[in-house]
């Protein structure tokens, strides 16, 4: 029986219930696997799950807001078959955490030794009926919370992710390019950036891996592009975190590409952060001289306040030279 602080949900005025979860799964086209996946999804013990099956030939882009009104969305990818308690565990994390997070995911790199305190005693929080006490304790032991203020960006190879629809909505509405993106490799880092994440069966996620392939570099550039385009909406997650994430993504992503991206998004950045923060943060991202060149090549953007901050930066540079 699900309860809050030990009180059964049904005995609280207002008809409280657990939230719905919409499970979105794209068929693989392999009939045998698809059949097994369907059975695995039907065997889920979370009582309020709804299933949305996407045919393989359908468009890769999904606007999740149009697909479901459920407050949580689960994206299943790859050839991982979820255990019957998969959704219940994710939802227990979402509802049990003293600090709600935007996304929970299962990481394959299990390192229980880095476990930090996470779930409170079930008698003092929300407990889902499907998770019995011993399993709750196990979940508390093998899960961890990733604070975006400490680690603004993360890279985790996750096939099963449960998102807060609100976080996905913020990301998908942040820029035209982000609209419809519904793949864990992009949604997970962005939702983590917006509101933090919790990992199951993993104590810690790796931060960004060293770039060693062109494919990884391309992913990072595309993520940086989305971040810069969505500045207005995404900066709600705290400006300092926004620029830390941008710096992490820009590291090793290729100077020319970063310049081009920053140049394209200058008006949006100025509007969101104002002249001073934009100039200073871009200076850290691409270097002060490049910031000068970037702005001087766009005279239409130059305002008195912007010129003042550029001048201040120039004076600082000259002083440093002396």
């Amino acid at each position: 029986m699900s309860a809050i602080g030990g009180i059964p949900l049904g005995s609280i005025a207002g008809n409280l219930s657990l939230p719905r979860v919409c499970v979105i799964w794209r068929k693989t086209g392999n009939p045998a696997f698809d059949e097994r996946m369907l059975q695995a999804l039907q065997a889920q013990d979370y009582p309020l799950a709804e299933l949305k099956i996407i045919e393989p030939q359908d468009s890769a882009r999904l606007n999740l807001k149009d697909e479901t009104s459920a407050p949580f969305v689960c994206l299943l990818e790859g050839n991982v078959l979820p255990q019957p308690d998969c959704l219940s565990k994710h939802m227990q994390l979402h509802l049990g955490l003293p600090w709600p997070v935007a996304v929970s995911y299962e990481s394959e790199n299990f390192t229980a030794d880095t476990k930090t305190e996470l779930l409170p005693d079930p008698d003092f929080g929300v407990s889902i009926g499907a998770i019995a006490k011993p399993f709750y304790a196990e979940l508390a032991r093998t899960s961890a919370c990733n604070d975006p203020s400490v680690q603004p960006w993360l890279s985790a190879d996750a096939r099963v992710c449960v998102y807060r629809s609100a976080a996905v909505g913020i990301f998908q509405s942040s820029s035209p390019a982000a609209a419809g993106i519904a793949a864990n490799d992009t949604l997970l880092p962005f939702c983590h950036f917006i509101g933090g994440s919790a990992s199951l069966a993993s104590g810690k996620t790796s931060s960004l891996p060293a770039i060693d392939t062109d494919a990884e570099r391309a992913i990072r550039i595309s993520q940086l592009g989305l971040l810069l385009q969505g500045a207005e909406k995404l900066s709600h997650a705290a400006p300092f975190r926004y620029w830390r994430a941008a710096n992490l993504l820009a590291r090793g992503a290729g100077t020319a590409e970063v310049h081009a991206l920053a140049g394209r998004e200058l008006p949006g950045l100025l509007k969101t952060f104002g002249a001073q923060r934009t100039v200073n943060s871009l200076a850290l991202l691409i270097g002060p001289r490049s910031v000068h060149r970037l702005f001087l090549s766009r005279p239409a953007l130059l305002s008195p306040s912007l010129l003042w901050h550029l001048g201040r930066m120039q004076t600082g540079l000259m002083r440093r030279k002396k």
């Binding site: 602080g5 005995s11 409280l16 709600p100 409170p120 003092f124 203020s149 807060r164």
Partner: protein
């Protein structure tokens, strides 16, 4: 300081005390004989859809001695008749119908002279209280050696349909968890702000807090922004680490645009401006009425309390001393403050603005 209080009926209630600025004042705990009267002040404006559930959650309290003043704050939907229907025949409820909506704070201030409970909770008309809300708060308060200004339980977020969105959120809801311990330690200077319906105040503190109310009362001003800060400043906060109420995210909330997420600022920018203005007005009023509020501890607690009311850190306070209306009030009261504290102390605490 974290501890468990053991009170009959609540054998292990985890609580945490967050000290007020310079808690040198001796505040005797509430008398622990009979069950003290608990007053709910329900303020409703156009929440016809939810107010019946809220009233029901008050009716279902397992605490025996309570009263509820239900205020219809000039609703234009069917809220008033719905409240009337619900409270008729139950002597614990009273209805106050205000003709116009001047905001939650105006209604709450009006209510203070109409209630007589020792403890008071201002209830939002779309939120829910769990059956043990009043009993847990009273149990925690009666177990204290020194009376806190405010006790605050954890809160669960629900959507408009009653689905639980997140559970047992701790105070400091909009600050990152990484600095949580540090923040709690620094809370001698800053109030941990919990959503409205999770807080319980002593009525005597609210009567003093009324001195800090702005002159012009308007719609978006929330009662807790005044009461929580003032009460925490006066006696610190008692945080009860178990969920006792539910905060509803309807999509039309003035303060919270989204469900809470770690480190995500969900307050609308225009509301943040109102919040800042309200904070500065409170601080300005405190400069004028600090002596009345702090009584004998005025000399040692005035400046830490003013810092607490202006948002926390010393740097922040210094910056806010230069903003109206606080700047004008400090200038006007300069001579009085210098007389009370001496020029050196005045300059030290006011910084560059002195």
């Amino acid at each position: 300081m974290k501890r468990h209080c053991s009170v009959q009926g609540h054998p292990s209630l985890p609580v945490c005390f967050v000290a007020a600025p310079e808690t040198s004042i001796d505040r005797p705990a509430a008398p622990s004989g009979a069950n003290p009267l608990f007053s709910f002040v329900l303020i409703c404006w156009n929440h016809e859809r939810f107010v019946a559930d809220t009233l029901q959650s008050i009716s279902s309290q397992d605490y025996p001695n309570w009263e509820c003043l239900a205020i219809d704050n000039g609703s234009t939907d069917g809220s008033r008749s719905l409240i009337e229907r619900h409270v008729t025949g139950d002597s614990r409820f009273r209805l106050l119908a205000r003709p116009e909506n001047h905001g939650q704070l105006a209604a709450a201030l009006d209510a203070l002279d109409r209630i007589s409970g020792e403890f008071v909770c201002i209830v939002d008309s779309d939120d829910l209280l769990f059956p043990n809300f009043a009993s847990a708060h009273v149990a925690a308060r009666l177990a204290e050696h020194h009376r806190s200004g405010v006790s605050s339980g954890r809160i669960v977020e629900i959507d408009s349909g009653g689905a639980v969105l997140s559970g047992a959120i701790r105070p400091f809801v909009n600050t990152p968890a990484c600095g949580q311990r540090k923040k709690a330690a620094a809370a001698t200077f800053r109030a941990p702000l919990n959503p409205g319906t999770s807080n319980v105040f002593a009525r005597s503190d609210l009567l003093l807090a009324r001195l800090l109310a702005p002159d012009r009362l308007e719609a978006p001003q929330a009662a807790d922004n005044l009461f929580f800060r003032a009460a925490h400043m006066m006696g610190g906060s008692l945080l009860i680490e178990t969920p006792l109420s539910a905060y509803r995210i309807t999509g039309t909330n003035v303060w919270a645009t989204q469900p809470a997420m770690l480190g995500f600022n969900r307050v609308r920018p225009e509301v943040e401006k109102i919040f800042l203005r309200q904070m500065l007005e409170q601080a300005a009023k405190f400069v004028l009425h600090g002596k009345e509020i702090l009584g004998t501890s005025y000399r040692e607690r005035f400046w830490p309390s003013l810092y607490s009311l202006t948002g926390g850190s010393e740097a922040q306070a210094m910056q806010r001393f230069l903003e109206p209306p606080l700047k004008e009030t400090l200038a006007a009261e300069r001579d009085t403050l210098i007389r009370d504290f001496g020029e050196e102390q005045f300059k030290r605490f006011c910084g560059g603005g002195a």
